[in-house]
């Protein structure tokens, strides 16, 4: 009896705990947005964060994009070749990259490369009581620490996703045209006929912006709420990657269903 009682209590505890987390992250989001106006009057802080989050992620994003493009080219050719329509390779590569792979893979890499460092940084600031010290000095840590990082991430992410898609398409071109020998004109013209600027490219950019907001917010939230111990920071960093990746994939399903279902 008491075993059943405990199991039900655990279920209830899990539900209230999740609702509490959801409420806390929404409140953090609201306060970041509310403080944004004042903080954006110091664009130097945001610029510093874009540099830290965006520029330093560029290499891993570009290299991954190149290899994803290579693989798409090879694998797409293997499949399309069976139906004798390998000219459609350009279209396949471009559509998969701009609509899905660009935003999603970039967001996953972004969570691993930039999200973790944000969480660890803020968690350690908290552990070192720097945030408390700021408050003592009447500096609002949300405004000084969180807002620039949030906007840095939200701005850097769509740029990274666009770079990823571009490099990926070039990778597909290298494999398809240079190595396999598909006609270059057909490769590009099929792509241009099939990819719509607003429906495909535009929605991809919108998607990557949403992912950027979500991943950055989760990273900041986990750092902000980390227990102020080395172990707490380690756990928060892990949670950033896990829940960031899950949220990105879930949101991607929702957004795809909304955007591309006509």
């Amino acid at each position: 009896m008491s075993g059943l009682y405990k199991a039900i209590a655990a279920l209830g505890g899990w539900l209230t705990g999740s609702i509490y987390q959801l409420g806390a992250i929404t409140r953090l989001f609201a306060s970041i947005l509310a403080q944004s106006g004042a903080a954006l009057r110091r664009p130097g802080l945001v610029s510093q964060q874009i540099h830290f989050i965006g520029n330093y992620s560029l290499v891993i994003i570009a290299v991954s994009g190149l290899f994803v493009g290579f693989v798409l080219g090879l694998q797409g050719y293997y499949t399309l070749n069976r139906y004798g329509s390998e000219e459609a390779l350009g279209l396949l590569v471009a559509l998969s990259l701009t609509r899905e792979l660009g935003p999603v893979v970039t967001a996953l890499l972004f969570a691993g490369r930039a999200g973790t460092s944000l969480t660890a940084e803020i968690g350690l600031m908290k552990a070192g009581e720097q945030l408390a010290a700021m408050e003592v000095m009447a500096v609002d840590p949300v405004r000084r620490v969180l807002v620039p990082r949030f906007w840095g991430g939200a701005i850097a992410m769509p740029i990274l996703a666009a770079v990823f898609s571009m490099v990926g398409i070039l990778g597909g071109w290298i494999v398809g045209v240079l190595l396999i020998g598909i006609d270059a004109g057909v490769f590009w013209s099929q792509m241009q006929n099939g990819v719509d600027v607003f429906k495909d490219v535009g929605n991809g950019v919108l998607k990557s912006f949403v992912f950027g907001v979500a991943v950055t917010l989760i990273a900041l939230f986990e750092g902000w709420n980390a227990r102020a111990t080395p172990e707490g920071v380690a756990r928060a960093t892990t949670r950033t990657v896990v829940s960031g990746a899950l949220v990105v994939l879930g949101l991607d399903f929702l957004l795809t269903a909304l955007m591309f279902s006509n």
């Binding site: 610029s47 540099h51 965006g54 560029l58 490219v201």
Partner: protein, 157 residues
């Protein structure tokens, strides 16, 4: 790093993003086929559109002269209504005919305009009278099969 140096690198980063976007829009996407030339709209009724889609090209002698602006259904005539955006610098006689054609065997469908001989020209809001529907491959095959079966029937008698 000084403020200015950071700003420079961030500027480069943003510039790279813009280049990527322009590349996606122009090289991978169809922005280059968007034309901002002034257009006029004409309508055409078709019995069957086949797989015609919005923004499909309207060609005359193989040159793109406009795009399909909208596809609807006329509930009075029980026919499909296609609205065409034709570029202003191309004019066509009022008795021109429109037909739905396919580029290649399995390619995308487009509208072909064949000029007529009328003195009057198509203008904003006018309707193309002579239209030819899309050729549906299944119908073609079934026609072919029936006619060859007919022939076989008469030959064996």
């Amino acid at each position: 790093m000084t403020r200015e140096k950071t700003d420079f690198w961030v500027g480069l980063f943003v510039l790279l993003g813009l280049i990527a976007l322009v590349f996606l829009a122009l090289r991978a996407g169809n922005l280059s086929s968007f034309s901002f030339a002034p257009t006029y709209q004409v309508q055409a009724h078709f019995d069957n559109l086949g797989g015609l889609k919005q923004r499909a090209p309207v060609k005359s002698s193989g040159v793109v002269v406009g795009r399909v602006a909208g596809i609807g259904f006329d509930n009075q005539r029980y026919q499909a209504v296609v609205t065409l955006d034709l570029e202003q610098n191309y004019e066509f006689p009022a008795d021109s005919s429109a037909s739905i054609l396919t580029s290649g065997l399995l390619g995308e469908q487009y509208i072909g305009l064949t000029p007529g001989g009328d003195e009057k020209m198509l203008a904003q809001g006018s309707t193309i009278q002579y239209t030819q529907s899309a050729v549906v491959l299944e119908e073609l095959i079934s026609k072919f099969l029936y006619s060859s079966a007919d022939k076989e029937g008469t030959a064996s008698e």
